[in-house]
Symmetry: C2
Subunit: 264 residues, 2 copies
């Protein structure tokens, strides 16, 4: 079984890392569409075009199951991808919403994400379908702080305190009683323990971890259980930067990255 | 006289704002290539292609003088732009280097910029041509802090203290005696006074201001001096975001932004 994992950048490697923990013997092919990121500032038609060409590339590379580890593409291009390829497709927003539904007793859920994901209200819609009330907040400084490597850094802890106290305050004003916080960006799992310390009253849903768990359930015993699978990495630009940043997100060294041209 | 100002995003509006102060009666046409930003992570060939199509658009819109208010394009595409259009072209890196040369008595200059600009070493090369020694430092958190609007914010002041004390320490280790600091990113003029307070021993070169001054000298009396000129704004994506963010960078309201499609 070969699983394709797609993101606009390196963030989706947190999802791949969680998948490797859950299903170490599967083969993986990862594509970071780094030449065309960020998707968040682009129109839905453009995002769908980029995501579909990326998904097709992964299927051509032998992927039999696709994980869309990109919140923007999951929000705005999931149906287009499902129409374009003949393999099962799972997006991080639906897996996050599933996990929020399983976690929340009060039915009130908070989501932190990038500006683009919050503006799309994709988590809100997906959670509302599951009967949850949702309050979303954009936290645009967290991605650059993670990319700077300032994980256990006083500035990052300050920024988390500011964002999360604003979020708690705003959700109280909206009369919500939240018990669950969804990390709606693939960069945020690197800050998970810092976030858990900042808001110990909330159960934190790590979208990488819950996506991996749901892929394992979906695939059942279709994945052989012996040994480690093959892992291939592709990026559409800046292979060196992908290796350097990516290693931090994956949690293990990335030796070889192929450069692929998917057009403009 | 119509002056064209080009950037990959809204940052170049700090240059336009400085130009309007210096030459209020000129006409201006500004293009933010927001659909294809950030340029920094892309290859030189791609950046040159994007910058040339943007420059041609501005000339078709009547620009008789082009200001490349984008550090990445100035570093990697200035010659390609000069080859492609028949109007004079000035880039922010050469204007910053000119100002550093005029300012520095020790001949040792510091530059802060984005990761992409530092990696290109364009300031280093341009300053070296003028006999200056340069130490460059990437400050990747400053752009997102400015875009978050955290200008006079304790977190931003902390981040500036960290970056600038590292920079001073590293330049001392390299045996430099710097007296001048170039703000090598069009977002940084918004933090100018905070930076000046953090390193009062350095003269700060605001690339927006010095570019405007050098454009005024280059144009001499070709700009009529009566009244306010016409100002036109174009973006390649997300016109609403351009207006909202742009107003902060320009220092005055942006009422109307045209959407233009320059291709992929």
């Amino acid at each position: 079984m070969r699983i394709g994992v797609f993101d606009s950048g390196v963030g989706g490697l947190t999802v791949l890392g969680a998948l490797i923990k859950q299903l170490p013997s599967a083969d993986y092919v990862y594509l970071g569409d780094t030449a065309r990121l960020p998707y968040g500032s682009k129109s839905q038609a453009t995002i769908a075009r980029y995501a579909v060409s990326s998904a097709r590339f992964l299927v051509e590379e032998g992927a039999e199951f696709l994980v869309i580890a990109c919140n923007t593409a999951s929000a705005l291009a999931l149906d287009a991808i499902k129409d374009a390829v003949r393999v099962p497709v799972l997006g991080v927003i639906e897996t996050g919403a599933n996990a929020a539904q399983a976690s929340s007793k009060s039915g009130d859920v908070l989501v932190i994400a990038t500006d683009a994901t919050v503006t799309s209200h994709a988590y809100k819609a997906s959670c509302a379908e599951r009967g949850l009330r949702v309050f979303e907040k954009a936290c645009p400084l967290l991605v650059p702080l993670v990319e700077e490597g300032w994980i256990e850094h006083p500035v990052t802890l300050d920024v988390l305190r500011i964002y999360l106290s604003e979020l708690m305050e705003q959700s109280r004003e909206a009369s919500l009683m939240p018990d669950t916080l969804v990390l709606g960006c693939t960069h945020y799992p690197l800050l998970r323990s810092q976030i858990e310390r900042t808001v110990p009253e909330l159960r934190v849903i790590d979208s990488a971890e819950v996506t991996a768990a749901q892929v394992a359930i979906a695939l059942g015993d279709r994945v052989r259980v012996d040994g480690d699978g093959v892992r291939k990495f592709y990026a559409t630009d800046s292979v060196e930067k992908f290796k350097r940043l990516g290693t931090r997100f994956l949690g293990e060294a990335i030796e070889c990255v192929g450069l692929v041209d998917l057009g403009g």
